[in-house]
Amino acid sequence: MSKKVTKIELLVVAVAHTINDGDKVVLGVGAPMLAGALAKALHAPNAVLMMESGMVDFEPLLPPRHVADVMCLKGFPYSTDLFNTFTTITYRGYVDKTILGVGQVDKYGNVNTSFMGGGPTTGMRLTGAGGAPDFMSYAKETILCLKGGKFVEELDYHTSPGYLGGGDERDRSGLFPQGSGPSMLISPDGIFRFDPETKEMYLESVIPGVTVEEVKARVPWDLKTLDPLKEYPVPKKEETDFLRSFAPYASFPNSIMMELAMQHYTQEEQRKAG
C-alpha cells in the first residue's frame, strides 16, 4: 500500500527503529528527540530516555525544544545534574546508545559540530561541542543523524570522536570502552553503516526516489555501497500518525515551519485588530 511521508519523517522513523525496548538512550536536540519520543510511545515503552541536563527516564508529551526542557513532560522519576549525568551514568557505562546531530562527518564517523569553513577565529561557528564529545566517547553505541550537515574529507574541527583514523585506532587508543563508536548514520538520503574492519562508512540503503549517484555526489570520498542495497525501512501508518500529532510542525523543514508560524501569528494579530 502506498504511503506519503516526508524525508524528515523517513529519517526520524529510521532513527527511532534503532532504539530497542529497555535501551538507555541519550538524545541530542532535534530529530534525535523526536525519534526517542516515537520509540518510547510505540515500540520501546521501557526505553530510558535521558538528557545531559539531568532529566533521566522521561516520557515527552511535547517535542523537547532543548536538552533541559522539563516543561515538555509532566513528571519524571530522577532529576540529577549535568556533572553526574556524564560521570555516574555515562562514564560508568550506563548509556547504551546516544543519538546525535552532525555538522560535518568524515568517513570514519568523526564529527564536527563546532566550526565550519575555517577554525575558531575564522570559520562559521556552529552550535559547539555541547555534550557530544563525552557522550560519543562513552556510549556503547552512537547513531549519527545528519539532517543539514555535510560529509567531508577532513573535518574543519574534530569535536567528537568516531573511529579516529579508522581500523582499530579507536579501540587501540585505550581512551574509550572497547567496541564503542558510531554504528550508523542516517541522512535524508539514506542509511550508512561502518565496515567492521576498516571502520569506513558505507551506504546501506537509500530513501525512495534518491539515487546512489546523488548520494555519492554529496560524499567527497569514494563511497562504498552495499550490493545490493537494503530496502529503506518504510514507516508504519501509526508512526507517521504519531509524529504528525506529537510534533505537527516537525515533519517539514524549519523554513516552512517558520513561514507557517508567522502566517498564523499575523492572522491572529489581524483578527484581534479587526
Binding site: 524525508k7 509532566k74 508560524a261
Partner: protein
C-alpha cells in the same frame, strides 16, 4: 537484570541470596541513620562469609556482621565503643585478636573513595591536610593503595588522592521506592547516594512501596534511578532500632539493651540468638517486639506528620493541539497541515 522494564520486588531473603555473595565487598549504604538492620540481619542469617565491609558510621551494623563471622576486612571511619569503656566493640575485639583487618579513613576520605567509584574515576583528590596525620601515614591492608599523591599540573602542588571504591553490593534502606527501583531518600543525606551509585549491585529496601506516579511528582528526592537497582524489598520498620525521619525515631531503650549485650562477644551473640537468627523477616521481628515490649513503646517513637512544602512543576500546556483541534503554533488542523505538505512537494510515495 538491572533494567527498568522489570518489576524487581522480591523478599529480602531472595534479594540477599541473589545479590550478596561470599567474598564480596559490601557497603552499608546508609549514613548514621536509617541503618538497614533488616538487611544486616538477613546477611548474618544467610551466613555470608569473607566479606569486606565498607561502613562509614557503623556501630551495630558492623558489630553484628562481625559477630556473625561474616567479615574478613573492614573499611571504616567511625565506630563507637558500644560495649562501654571496658567492653569495647566487636570490631576492637576481633581486630586485636587478629581475626579481621581494618582500614581507617576519615569521613571525607572514605566518602571520596565512594564518590570516585560513583563517577567512574580511578582516583579522587582529597584535602591536603590529611597528609599530616596518621590517617594518611598508618596503613593496614590497603598498603600503598590507601592514598596516593599527584602533582597538580596547574599549581605544581602535591595533592593527596584516594583510590575509587566500587563495592560489589550496596545494601540500603530508603523511605520509598517504586517497583522498578526508583528510590527516594531525604533528611541528613550523608554519603548515602554515593555509596549506592559506587556499587555494582544494589539492594533497596524501603519503608513504603509507592506508585511511580508519586516518584515522578517528586524527582528531586530520588537518589537512584531504576536501572541501577537490582532488588526492591518493602519492609516497614526496616531500619529499627535506628531512626527514619518521617517514620520513626531512634529506639533508645532498645539500643541500650544492645549496648549492654555488646560488652562481650558472647553477650552480643546471645542477643542475636533472640533477635536475629530465629527471625525470618521484619514482620516477625516487629511482632516479637510488640509481644515483648507492647505496642505502646512502638507508638511512642512514631513520627508526627510534618510535610515538606511543595514546589510547582507545571508547564503552560502539555499538547501541541488546542481544544478546537488546531495546532498551538500554526493554527491548522492535521488535515490542513498534511495538505500543506503535499502542496510544498514534501511528500514521497513509499
Amino acid at each position: 537484570m538491572t533494567d527498568n522494564t522489570i518489576n524487581k520486588v522480591m523478599t529480602l531473603k531472595e534479594a540477599v541470596s541473589r545479590f550478596v555473595h561470599d567474598g564480596d565487598e559490601l557497603v552499608v549504604g546508609n549514613y548514621t541513620v536509617a541503618t538497614p538492620f533488616n538487611q544486616i540481619m538477613e546477611v548474618v542469617r544467610q551466613e555470608k562469609k569473607n566479606l569486606t565491609v565498607y561502613t562509614q558510621s557503623g556501630v551495630f551494623d558492623v558489630e553484628m556482621l562481625i559477630a556473625g563471622e561474616c567479615v574478613d576486612r573492614i573499611v571504616t571511619t567511625y565506630n563507637i565503643r558500644s560495649g562501654g569503656r571496658g567492653g569495647g566493640s566487636m570490631c576492637e575485639r576481633y581486630q586485636t585478636a587478629g581475626k579481621i583487618q581494618v582500614e581507617d579513613y576519615s569521613n571525607f576520605t572514605y566518602n571520596a573513595r565512594l564518590t570516585a567509584g560513583a563517577l567512574g574515576y580511578s582516583f579522587m583528590p582529597v584535602l591536603p591536610g590529611i597528609m599530616a596525620t596518621d590517617v594518611f601515614k598508618v596503613r593496614d591492608f590497603m598498603g600503598e593503595s590507601k592514598f596516593g599523591v599527584v602533582e597538580c599540573p596547574f599549581t605544581g602542588k602535591d595533592i593527596p588522592v584516594v583510590p575509587a571504591a566500587n563495592p560489589d553490593v550496596c545494601i540500603v534502606h530508603v523511605h520509598r521506592a517504586d517497583k522498578y527501583g526508583n528510590a527516594q531518600y531525604w533528611g541528613a543525606k550523608g554519603s548515602v547516594a554515593w555509596a549506592c551509585l559506587a556499587s555494582k549491585n544494589i539492594i533497596v529496601s524501603c519503608e513504603e512501596l509507592v506508585d511511580t506516579e508519586i516518584i515522578n511528582a517528586s524527582p528531586e528526592y530520588t537518589i537512584l534511578p531504576s536501572f541501577r537497582v537490582n532488588a526492591v524489598v518493602e519492609e516497614s520498620f526496616g531500619a529499627h532500632p535506628a531512626e527514619l525521619v518521617g517514620y520513626y525515631n531512634m529506639d533508645q531503650l532498645f539500643y541500650i539493651e544492645m549496648d549492654v549485650a555488646n560488652a562481650s562477644d558472647t553477650g552480643l551473640r546471645k542477643w542475636m540468638d533472640e533477635w536475629v537468627y530465629p527471625i525470618p523477616d521484619r514482620n516477625t521481628y516487629i511482632e516479637r517486639y510488640i509481644s515483648k515490649y507492647g505496642l505502646e513503646r512502638l507508638k511512642q517513637i512514631k513520627a508526627q506528620t510534618y510535610y515538606s512544602a511543595p514546589v510547582n512543576q507545571g508547564a503552560a500546556f502539555y499538547s501541541n493541539w488546542r481544544e478546537d483541534g488546531k495546532s498551538v503554533g500554526l493554527g491548522l488542523t492535521l488535515d490542513e497541515i498534511e495538505k500543506v505538505m503535499e502542496e510544498k512537494g514534501l511528500m514521497i510515495d513509499v
